[in-house]
Symmetry: C2
Subunit: 131 residues, 2 copies
Amino acid sequence: MSELTIGELAKQAQVQSSTLRYYESIGLMPVSKRINGQRRYSQEAIKRLSFIKLAQQAGFSIEEIKTLLEGFELNVPPLSQWRLLVQQKLLEVEATIVRAQQMKALLEEGLRCGCLSYDQCYALIAAGDHC
Amino acid sequence: MSELTIGELAKQAQVQSSTLRYYESIGLMPVSKRINGQRRYSQEAIKRLSFIKLAQQAGFSIEEIKTLLEGFELNVPPLSQWRLLVQQKLLEVEATIVRAQQMKALLEEGLRCGCLSYDQCYALIAAGDHC
DNA sequence: ATAAAACTTAAAGTTAACTTTAAGTCAAGG
DNA sequence: CCTTGACTTAAAGTTAACTTTAAGTTTTAT
């Protein structure tokens, strides 16, 4: 059960096989074990991919995710460059959350009150008021 | 004060002039008034651009933003296609918020406990536990 | 044993969202 | 008046993140 072919991993992790080859080629996924030239993966790969997807959906680029993962793997010292990156990324994720919440409020307001224009709604939301 | 050149608008809205021309060319911004062939904008444009930026940061594509803005402008009927899109987008924004919050927790945990590997952290977060 | 399905690599193609370039026109200061 | 900076269009170029293609090998099912 624990040795997955590329197709099996792709199915379980909800990505395409070509994406897995691509991730390997750019160093985002480690070069996997081969059997007769074909890739074999462990369950570990699923976890790594789920982390990658989550980070992507949180707005991280592939380069940033690579850096993050390297840091997790190296068990970095307290004042490293990596920690600074993580701290900076934390701020960005927090900003993302705030903006997504604003957008949510805007959409709800738009649905609820049938505002005449987006900027009317926008002004209302900004003022913390409602229709 | 109310008539802005493309450069002035670009500066105030924190985008490049070329982006404004591009947005006009694809119909995301309305074709603006011209004076001797040069664009002039009202304050309205700033509001529209701030909405566009917010929506983008919330994960909307330009095509989706166009559709959203059209709906806001048309004052659409209760059961329109537009309302369905907004409802669907609301769900997506909510999912974005949840994932960004998960990512935030992961980063905080990574910083705080100096975990050995991302999936260790991942498992901990998933279990609601800590190091 | 063989046919179909899944795998391989390397390289080219795709899409979104801009940005840059080229060649020229307009506007503001000295 | 003239130069310099900001503007114009149209078209080509860029970047990230994949996806597709082509030509071939391996595995699986009958």
